[in-house]
Symmetry: C2
Subunit: 413 residues, 2 copies
């Protein structure tokens, strides 16, 4: 057991290092498989949407002049010359005094520039329609190209595909798009004390928690988790597993090694890889300080703390955004996709200056007031603080804490 | 084309009807597959976690009495009688004046009740350790059962499994749990004007957007989407497809039919199913009013509006929470899992009283201020309002709107 000092860098510096790794390659996928992935190309609309003027309502297509001034008390009377099928491309021109029955989504005939809703009309029989409300030009119509005009840029490269975006792509007839493929993330648990979760309880052993939590968070980030199981504290075994994981993945996460001896082993294993370098020996966040960043060739390797809570915080604060960046997402570290809740802090909460604190917080709903946020204290080796917590409160490195009564942002987890 | 009035009910009444459908059945799954699913059983801890007193630090296990009052200037000197392997179950008792080297996660020997961190010690050689800091009893130790005591209820039935919960289950050696299975949700698009997305652009046709957006949202809710393609406006065809979808799924979503004629057809098709009933003909929300709820046997059927934006709002506001309820989640309609952002409203935004409005909103980030929220107006047949929107602002049915300058909650989408 050696006593080692190691240089730690700020969270901002650590993110800058992570940011220097390029996104993974792109591939073409069906839009059915694109939800949540990140565009690797700009999308330009190939056509006008809608392709012609369409009705937004069930009713009658009219020329607005013919219905001008129509009211309940002073209706207009128009001759209905056609009942349009919804999928019809009307080949005729509406003449003055005429109207055509049209359904929602139907295409307007030439000469029509408005639709009067069926609720404001009355069919008098023999083809005469009483119109009880005027229609301004363009009323109840989607104009040709109003949704998207041909040639318009629709989405930028680096945009995360949302459900509504999949809908727009479908509407434009874009069946396949170029996205960044899902990164593969290798997960290795290290530690002589670790056993598989089906091992019976035995004093001295600890079941492998981190492989499971890391897998969940990697998958939730949108990447593909590949577990390499538990590796004992043997340099040779760790080196060969790490080498295999690097070859097979875009990012490798080692968890364990928060003890000084294990940290040394992780550093040694990373350094023994071809074309490798340690970029950071720690990051000034709490919990999560003993986080190591290295690379082998162009593949990033993160040596995460073994403490169950520390590793969960590091995953949320740094690794999940890093995975999103590897997936090509712009501003992956901006934090704008964090689910923040305003709350009233229930007690003074202090932090050591010089490190960014991620305090586990419990939220209590209060009718008509901000929820009450109270810290959940406990050692970072305990799982229960994250189990009891509803969110995290970040105390910046240049702040000594917050006072009871302060309005604070809680990042829901 | 007929002019039909139909009774609409409030969103709260509609939710109460949805709430009357029971959750789907349960099954046993590996915890590796449980993330995001909902527990169908209560979990009781089968053992103490940790099973014995464990060190949280690299250092020396001591009896606190022996290190009492130790400082840099006035250290204590203890005899190190053992170097414990991290996975060792120490079979000996620490005697007065003795200590044992221990790593993070290691089990304490009998007689030890504290750990002095290695940073506060110095190995003088020949087995003598200089202790430069006292350790209070319990310091740097996780006590037996401190995380979870044997027999404690850990999670309630109806709890949604989070990543940290998977970790705790792993730690407790719980390999399999009972969860509500993923509901299967059948999706049928209806409308004569609809064509597949690979159809060339043609005036009069509309590519099938809703099948795609619904699939994304159903999957995101945690259910399994089953698409039944496009059905033309023919009662026979719609009936046979609906019958098949009901047999094969836990919930059926019909989209299209927001025109009066199509709505009639949807109602007729639902009513023709065995043991069926229409429960609601509409809901007082905008967009989304023409939403039909029915059932066939114990299977719920929703007739959703065909307008692309309306259906997306109904999915977010009602169908996604309904799917979570079918998955067994407690309080699925509480809205507590909505990602709300506080913002300053940029302009007066009015709403018709008597209906709950879901206004599409654009958020603009402003340094050091609340973001600015501005409504994105546009017809509900246009896709672009949801594309441009960052979120929804809900104007309750009993409110006429909000003023520019008001602080409002925007539900990020």
């Amino acid at each position: 057991m050696t006593h080692e000092f190691f240089k730690i860098i700020s969270r901002v510096e650590f993110e800058a290092l992570l940011n220097s790794f390029p996104a993974v390659g792109t591939e073409t996928v069906s839009i059915s498989d694109a939800f949540g992935l990140v565009l690797g190309e700009e999308i330009i609309s190939p056509e006008d949407l809608p392709p012609a003027n369409r009705s937004c309502m069930d009713g009658y297509a009219v020329n607005a002049r013919d219905a001008f001034g129509a009211t309940e008390g002073n209706p207009a009377y128009l001759e209905c010359t056609a009942t349009l099928r919804v999928d019809e491309n009307p080949g005729f021109e509406l003449q003055p005094g005429e109207c055509a029955a049209i359904a929602t989504g139907g295409t307007l005939p030439g000469g029509a520039d408005g639709v009067v809703m069926v609720e404001h009309t009355h069919d008098l029989g023999s083809g005469t329609i009483e119109i009880r409300k005027s229609a301004a030009p363009g009323e109840n119509i989607m104009l040709k190209g109003e949704d998207v005009a041909k040639g318009t840029p629709v989405f930028q490269s680096g945009h995360k595909v949302r459900f509504q975006d999949v809908g727009l792509l479908a509407a434009l007839g874009i069946k396949e798009i170029v996205i960044h493929r899902k990164p593969r993330v290798g997960i290795i648990s290290t530690g002589d004390e670790l056993v598989e979760i089906d091992a019976p309880q035995k004093v001295g052993t600890i079941r492998d928690v981190n492989s499971h939590t890391l897998r969940c968070l990697v998958n939730e980030a949108g990447a593909e988790a590949v577990n390499y199981g538990i590796v004992r504290d043997e340099l040779n075994k760790l080196e060969s597993t790490l080498e295999k994981a690097i070859a097979e993945n875009d990012l490798v996460l080692l968890s364990g090694g928060s003890s000084v001896g294990m940290r040394d082993l992780t550093v040694q294993a990373i350094e023994s890889m071809q074309d490798s370098e340690i970029l950071a020996h720690g990051v000034a966040i709490s919990p999560g300080k003993p986080t190591i960043l290295g690379h082998a060739g162009n593949k990033p390797i993160l040596g995460l703390p073994g403490q169950v809570t520390s590793v969960q915080v590091v995953m949320l604060a740094l690794v999940v955004p890093f995975i999103r960046q590897l997936m090509g997402q712009k501003d992956a570290f901006s934090g704008t996709d964090r689910f923040l809740v305003q709350a009233e802090l229930g007690r003074n909460t202090v932090s050591k200056p010089g490190r960014e604190d991620y305090v586990r917080m419990k939220l209590t709903h209060r009718e008509g007031m901000l929820p009450l946020a109270e810290p959940v204290y406990g050692k970072s080796g305990l799982l229960k603080t994250m189990i009891q917590a509803d969110g995290l409160m970040i105390i910046p490195a240049d702040t000594e804490g917050f006072y009871a009564g302060n309005t604070v942002s809680i990042w829901k987890i």
